[in-house]
C-alpha cells in the first residue's frame, strides 16, 4: 500500500508540489494533469528519487527516504520513466538481465523472472534485438518489463501510453489492467481517455496541488451535474477551471 503524507517537493528553489496526501491500495490510480502540472515530479518523488522538503512517502508502512526500512521500501517500488533511452547497444534480454541485477533479483530466479517479464509484455520474439532497433511501442513495453522484474508492490508509470498507435495502446492498457489486479499501479498521463479506461480512481494534479482524488466517475462532480455528460474530459477541464496552461 502506498501512502503519501503532506508531500512538498522543491526543484531548484521553486516548490513544485504542495502538500499532497493520498493513499492507494491495489488497483489503478490515474494521475491526470496538464503539461507541467507536476506528474513526473510526483512519480519521481514516490520512487525515492526526489527527497521531499517536507512530508513523507510510505510503502507498506516503510518510509522511502528515512529509517532502516528505506532499502526494503525502495525494493517495493518500480518506476517506468517518461523517456526511455537506456543505452541502445544492449539487447532486450541483456537490458532486462542487467536491470534484474540492479533490482537485486536473486541470481537463481533471475533468468526465470526475465522470461516472465518478457512474456508479460509480449516481447519474447524481440528478446535478442538491440534496444535501438525497437519501435516506440516495443521500447515502452521493454521499459515496463524491467519494472516487473522484482514484482513490486507499487508500479509507477509515467506517460506509458503516449506516442503509441491505437493497437499498441490497447495492448498496453490490457497489460496494465492485469498488472493492477494485484498491485498498486499509478499511471500518470494527460491523455484522459487512457485514464478513463484504465483507472477506477483518479487524482487530478494542477500547479502542483491535488485538486481531486476519488472515483473516476465522480470527477465531474456529484451525479446529475450537466458536465458529467461530457465524461472525464469535460469534468477534468471544468475542475481545473478551463486553465490548461
Amino acid at each position: 500500500m502506498l501512502e503519501v503524507r503532506s508531500l512538498s517537493v522543491e526543484r531548484g528553489r521553486e516548490e513544485i508540489l504542495h502538500d499532497i496526501s493520498f493513499v492507494a491500495g491495489a488497483g489503478a490510480l490515474g494521475l491526470l494533469g496538464v503539461n507541467g502540472a507536476g506528474k513526473s515530479t510526483l512519480l519521481r518523488s514516490l520512487a525515492g528519487l526526489l527527497p521531499p522538503r517536507s512530508g513523507s512517502v510510505l510503502i507498506d508502512g516503510a518510509d522511502v527516504y528515512e529509517g532502516r526500512r528505506r532499502a526494503a521500501a525502495s525494493r517495493q517500488v518500480a518506476l517506468v520513466p517518461q523517456d526511455f533511452d537506456f543505452p541502445g547497444t544492449f539487447t532486450v534480454r541483456e537490458f532486462l538481465c542487467h536491470m534484474a541485477w540492479m533490482r537485486a533479483v536473486p541470481r537463481r530466479s533471475s533468468a526465470a523472472r526475465v522470461d516472465a517479464a518478457l512474456e508479460a509484455v509480449d516481447l519474447q520474439r524481440q528478446a535478442g534485438r538491440r534496444l535501438n532497433t525497437l519501435s516506440g511501442g516495443m521500447a515502452r513495453r521493454a521499459a515496463i518489463a524491467q519494472a516487473l522484474l522484482a514484482d513490486p508492490a507499487v508500479l509507477l508509470l509515467d506517460e506509458s501510453t503516449t506516442g503509441l498507435d491505437p493497437v499498441q495502446r490497447a495492448e498496453i492498457r490490457l497489460l496494465l489492467r492485469s498488472l493492477a489486479a494485484s498491485r498498486c499501479v499509478v499511471l500518470a498521463s494527460h491523455i484522459v481517455e487512457d485514464i478513463e479506461q484504465l483507472a477506477t480512481r483518479v487524482a487530478v494534479l494542477h500547479h502542483g496541488r491535488l485538486l481531486f482524488d476519488g472515483a473516476t466517475a465522480d470527477v465531474a462532480g456529484p451525479s446529475g451535474d450537466p458536465a458529467r455528460a461530457g465524461g472525464l474530459e469535460a469534468g477534468f477541464i471544468s475542475l481545473i477551471g478551463g486553465d490548461t496552461a
Binding site: S74, P81, F86, A104
Partner: protein, 429 residues
Amino acid sequence: MRTLIRRSSTVGFVPVLVVVQAFCLLQRGTPWLGEWDWTADWAGGVTVVTGPLLAGCTAFEVLRWRTAATWSLLRQTPRGGHAAWLCALPVLVIGVVVHVVATASVLVATAMAGGEPRIDTGFVLVVVLPVVALAAAASIGAATAACWRSLLAVPLAAAIVFGLTAFPDRLMLPDVLKVGGTTGSLVGLTWDSRQQAAALAVLVMVSVFAVVVMHARDAVRRGPASRSIVAASAVALVAAVVLAQSVPSSRLRPSGAPIRYACTAASGTTVCLASQTSRQLAWLAAQIIRQSEPLAAIGVRLPRRYQQVVPYRRQPDGVAPILLEPDSINARRGDARRVPDLLAMPALCAADTGEVPPPDEVFVARSAISAWLSVRNGLSETSDYRVEVFGEWLGQTAPDQQAWIRTTYAQLTACAYADVRLPESVVLP
C-alpha cells in the same frame, strides 16, 4: 558484467587503444628488448598516453549513461548505489586488459630474446603501478563526467590526467603518476621502493577520492555523513600527496645487490657482461679476440679480462672496461667499428672518472691506437684519418710506430697517464 563490457562504447575504441599502445611501446625501436627490468619499466610508461585516453573513454561512457533519462531509473533500484561505478568499470577492464596483454607480450618477447625473468617486489610493483594508474585515470574520468554532464568532460578528463602525469612539477605535485618509461638500461639500478610505495598510496587515494566525489554527487540526500566521507577522503589524499613530497622524486636508485656477470673465456681472454644485459656477449667476445690480434702480433700485452662497466660500481683493478652504447646495449650484435675504441682503453683509471680529466695526450694516444687497429682490421682506411693530428703518423710504417704502441699501451694499462708521450710527428694544437 560481461554484457556491460561487450556493450560498452569503449569496445569500438579498442583498436585505437591497441594501436596507440603499440605505437608508444615501439616508437623508440626496441632497445629494451632482452633486458627484463627495462622492458617492464618501459611497458608501464605507456600509461602517460593511455591513461588520459582511458580517462576520456570513461568520461564518454559514463556520460552515455548519465545523460540518459533512464539514469534515474537505475539509481532508483535497490542496487542504484552501484550504478555510478558500474558504468565506468567496463572501460577500465578493457583498458587494463589491453595494457596487461601488451605488457605480457613485450615481457615474453624479452624472455625469448634471452632476458632472464627476475621477479621481486620492485618488479611486481612496476607492473602493478601502471594498472593502478589506469584505475586512477578511469576514476578521474568517471568523476569528471559525474560532476559536469557535458561532452566537454571528455577532453577535460583527458587533460586533467595528462597534466597530472606529464607536468606534476608545474602543479606543485609529486611526480608519482608517471609509473615507468625509463629510456635507458636499468643495469646497476633498481626501483626505489619508498617512491613506489608513495606512488601506490597517491594513486589509490586519487581513485578513492574520485569515486567518493562521484558517489557524493549522486547521493539523493547530501547529509553530514556523505560530507564527512568526502572530507575524510580529501584529507587522506592530501596526506598521501604530502607524504609523497618527502620521498625522493627519482624512481630509480643505484642497486645494492651484487651484479651478476655472464662470461665467456677463450684463448686466455675472459669477456664479461652484466647478465642483465648480456645479449651480445658471444658476438662481443669473438670481436675482442679477433680485433685484438694485430696488437698481440706486435707484442702488446693485452688485458686478460674485459668486463662491462656498471654505473655506480667501481671497476676492479686490472680489468679492461667495456662501455656499451646505451641504444645498442641489448642488441644481439653491436657495431664492429666501435670495438677498436674499446680495445684502445685497456683500463678504467681514477682519472677517467675523477674530477680532473686525463691529459689530452691520453685521448690522442687512444684515438691513434684505435685508428691503427681499425686500419689493420680492415674497418677503415688510413686516408679516413687525414684530418686528425695523428693522420701523418698513421701513414708511416716506421718500426718505432710499433714500439710506441707497445710502450703507450703498457702505460694506459698501468694508468700511468702522466708518462704518456705522443710520437714526434704528432703535435697537439
